[in-house]
Subunit: 226 residues, 2 copies
DNA sequence: ACCTGAACACCGTTCAAGT
DNA sequence: ACCTGAACACCGTTCAAGT
């Protein structure tokens, strides 16, 4: 029997590295950054790794797991404060949540997918741990911190996900912001509260609103006995 | 030229009602209730209406619009308090948001889709209007009510959407609750805050948590100057 | 155990051609 | 204007058969 060798069809091509979970995730991350989540498909990943789509299922259970792994990889770049030494836990928490929101704003369709996931990678756990620790440092009672952390993270994610809907529609399409349109047009006879608040509803920059909302969430979590 | 008549292939079959947006939405709603959102596809809708999928695009721009229309149809059943006469606006607001969450809990994958939408149908506008009016009645300053209403609605939607992930996995699959697993296993050396709060993180029923969170959100919105 | 090609069972949307 | 069939351009996942 002849020794096993690379098949002729592969000879003189760059050696094909062995498949691995990390390798698949690395390719997924690159495609996400360069072309967006929509292009991260099992077929595309397989193609880039010079194999068939079914081979990926050895390393990842399904597409949701790919998305979760990609989120965790992105979170590695999120600067984490040290809750034990920070002098301004409230500012550090706001900054952390703002940074997390900003990161997801760069990948709104990933944010959308993450809402349907329960991310559980090591970097997401670190984000949870730091959020809870900062609430502790703020003097929030433990049960409130435990029940409150995911309101904070969920709001950040949902805010970025909302952005996805905007990004998908083109400017020429007047439906892109159906709710703003609808609020603007809502007849005062039928929707008196909307009519009364029309100016306030459209006031403020997205940054101002985000900052206010995060503050309101922290205040609510800190000030509401469980 | 002979008069136009129903083609032979349709004779003796029940008369085919003319297509309409309302008709499409009604079928979508029935399929949603009986079989879930996953079965509400353009091809299925077309099949039930005895036509081809392309015909639906005369009445609805895309699948997102179908989902939005279905949500609005469901909201017709949501009991709305009258903000002008209610004596306990805080209780009424909590009840309204709890009822909205409960309604979406029945259709978690719709909730997931709604997060990516900006619903703008008449019944959703009514929900917004009532929420703002109840915040007014609570004495919340107008700008805070204007900025705060969507935190409340978004939380309700996101909470129901989270449920979708659970529903999709079967019991035998231990991954169904990856985050709870991960939190339970998180080593205390690396995640000290999680370890410290382990008991509180798993405490409380979903109902208790929902009630507390809604209260915390209302408190935060009411008590944080914009 | 790992890897594969091919198949299964679908999707949403567009388009040219009718009526 | 409304409606259509067929096509376009894909999907995720499974499975039997390899190595």
């Amino acid at each position: 029997m002849p020794p096993r060798r690379t098949p002729a069809s592969r000879r003189d091509r760059p050696a094909k590295p062995p498949l691995s979970r990390a390798g698949v995730v690395a390719v997924a991350l690159r495609i996400l950054r360069e072309e967006g989540l929509e292009k991260v498909t099992m077929r595309r990943l397989a193609g880039e790794l010079d194999t068939g789509p079914s081979s990926l299922y050895v390393y990842l259970q399904n597409m949701a797991e790919v998305h979760g792994a990609v989120l965790d990889a992105l979170l590695a770049d999120l600067p984490m404060p040290d809750p034990a030494t920070t002098k301004d836990p409230r500012g550090a928490l706001t900054d952390l949540l703002t940074a997390y929101t900003g990161l997801l704003f760069g990948y709104p369709s990933l944010a959308r997918s993450v809402l349907a996931l329960w991310p559980s990678g090591p970097n997401y756990l670190r984000l949870i741990d730091t959020t809870i620790a900062l609430l502790d440092a703020l003097g929030v009672p433990p049960r409130q911190a435990s029940w409150g952390f995911d309101v904070l993270l969920q709001y950040a994610t949902a805010t970025a996900a909302e952005q996805a809907t905007r990004d998908e529609s083109d400017d020429s399409d007047r439906e892109w912001d159906g709710l703003t349109e609808a609020i603007g047009r809502a007849p005062g006879r039928e929707y008196p509260a909307i009519a009364r608040h029309r100016d306030d509803l459209f006031s403020g920059t997205p940054e101002q609103k985000l900052r206010w909302t995060l503050t309101a969430l922290i205040n609510g979590v800190a000030g509401t006995p469980a």
